[in-house]
Amino acid sequence: MSSSKIIQGRGCSPGEFEGEVVVSLEPFGFWQGIDPETGIVINRRHDLWRASLANKAFVFPYGRGSTGTPGIFLEAVRNGCAPAAIVNVKSEPMIVACAILAEAFFKVSIPIVEGLPADYQKLLRTGDRVRISGVSGTIEVVSSG
């Protein structure tokens, strides 16, 4: 896999990640969206229902956020089952706040990159292995899943 592709976005939260991606095509809200004990999606209306986000790079278009979002997110961070990186078309303040707070209170850095093209499902698929830099805003697909 020498021909790795690189997607250039904008870094919203610093940190580095290398691992698996889980890709959703629908907006996501963490409050009533995941079980913070397991990192598994509990929203039955969502395309990732029953999938695990734990320690993966979670790709979704944008957040649909209750102001309680960081409550659930940080509980997952505390339990070691939060997504380890986030990639969006647009990262709203509610999502970026989750990463800032995780760093401030739990010393966990969660890189966030926004600026994915709208047809991102052509570039990233669940199971792909990627390298993400929240500083340079790059997403490098290392190998396809």
């Binding site: 102001t67 309680g68 960081p70």
Partner: protein
């Protein structure tokens, strides 16, 4: 970001760890969203007051802050908790759960947070003024104070709200800027809908506006009059189905004396016409179940006002809630006390309805009840209760909700 000398000293730790951590969070958020500086706030309102939201992570964060001597710098009120502090046993809340909520209460109290336990703090001890900058969370309260009062706050996230309270500041971007408050999407009511606009159309229209608008700023044309409670219901629904943090209702809300003022001189991105048929379509979408027997009725989302308590008492006068049905009215403790003094509470309780104070169906664990079908007059409840309570949800007007509680059935046709 341009920081004042005092802010730089805070970041250096001159005023202690809690202020340093809080300001660091706010500066990072501001940098991510292009804020030029921080702005001082008149008050804060915090949503991580509920154990259901904050959980053990919240208890850890608050404990750390309290041990470091954290005190809020501005007037700060608490959103609902996850229990009715006086009646949690009556609502079948597990004792261990109630203990954790009480722990949060103790920690917030030590930081100097006023324990209002309400999503309508603007009816109690936290009343913003026009043009004031604030650091608030709770989507239904944010949309109310921005739209109806004309105060200025972004939708803060849980814990960011606590940071704002501790630092007395927020990053200046979005709704703090005049150019961030201009209407973007017009919703024009047909003359038929405008003339025959019923009470329960407010949450239904709000729900539809939220679905279409997302996080942009809607402008509503054609609402002729609206009460405090109707605006509260409209905004709460729009903030739940979308992420609406500010709406302009031309002729009604203070930054929309005219359409031109609401748009701030710009062309709107979209224009939608809404008629009676569209509102009725939305009401159908808001319900996930069919007509039939009902086991729980929820009103008072957002928390009921005293006017609403009077209306509920009138609807229950000489009536009896059907056997096997729970009618719960959610309110804050200030309204509870006034309703008691006015005699409304006596009428309500004699009819077999219950007051649920300082929390609501959404925030309180209700698994022990085994409810199947909930009826509500709230757009926000309609959006969330299928997940939070795990029931079918039927949206109906306030009168129809009380009728359902009394007859034990909901029949919308």
């Amino acid at each position: 970001m341009n920081l004042t000398d005092e802010e730089k000293q805070i970041l250096d730790g001159a005023f202690g760890a809690p202020q340093r951590i809080a300001l660091k969070v706010l500066v990072k958020l501001g940098e991510a969203y292009g804020a030029d500086r921080l702005v001082e706030i008149a008050s804060a309102h915090v949503v991580g007051s509920s154990y259901q939201i904050a959980g053990e992570a919240g208890i850890e964060i608050y404990t750390q802050l309290v041990e470091q001597g954290a005190r809020v710098k501005v007037r700060t009120t608490s959103d609902p908790g996850s229990i009715d502090f006086a009646r949690w046993q009556q609502f079948k809340t597990p004792a261990g759960y109630a203990e954790r909520q009480k722990k949060i209460a103790e920690l917030l109290n030590r930081m100097g947070v006023i324990p209002t336990w309400t999503c309508t703090p603007y009816t109690t001890f936290n009343v913003p003024r026009f043009g004031e900058d604030l650091g608030w969370s709770e989507s239904s309260a944010v949309v109310f104070v921005n739209s109806v009062i004309g105060a200025r706050t972004n939708r803060l996230a849980a814990y960011v709200d606590v940071c704002a309270a501790l630092a007395g500041r927020v990053p200046r971007f979005g709704l703090h800027l005049p150019e961030g408050r201009r209407g973007e999407v017009i919703f024009e009511l047909t003359s038929d809908l405008s003339v025959n606009f019923e009470d329960h159309y407010f949450p239904a229209l709000g729900y539809r506006v939220g679905q279409v608008t997302g996080d942009r700023i809607p402008v509503i044309l054609g609402v002729r009059r609206a009460t405090f409670d109707q605006l509260k219901a409209f905004g709460a629904a729009a903030a739940a189905s979308g992420s609406v943090a500010l709406y302009h209702m031309v002729g009604i809300t203070p930054e929309a004396r005219s359409l031109e003022e609401a748009l701030g001189g710009r062309q709107p991105a979209e224009r939608h016409v809404v008629g009676t048929r569209e509102v009725q379509e939305t009401m159908t979408q808001m319900s996930t179940g069919q007509d039939g027997p009902v086991d729980v009725v929820g009103v008072g989302c957002p928390h009921a006002s005293l006017d609403q308590m009077k209306r509920y008492a009138t609807l229950l006068e000489g009536k009896r809630v059907h056997r096997g049905v729970e009618l719960w009215i959610c309110a804050n403790t200030v309204v509870e006390e006034m309703a008691r003094r006015m005699g409304y509470l006596k009428t309500i309780e004699e009819a077999g309805a219950k007051l649920m104070v300082g929390t609501c169906h959404n925030d309180c664990p209700l698994g022990a009840w085994g409810f199947r079908r909930l009826v509500t007059d709230s757009g926000k409840f309609a959006y969330y209760t299928p997940t939070t309570v795990g029931t079918e949800c039927i949206f109906a007007g306030t009168e129809a909700c009380f009728e359902a509680a009394i007859t034990g059935r909901v029949d919308r046709r």
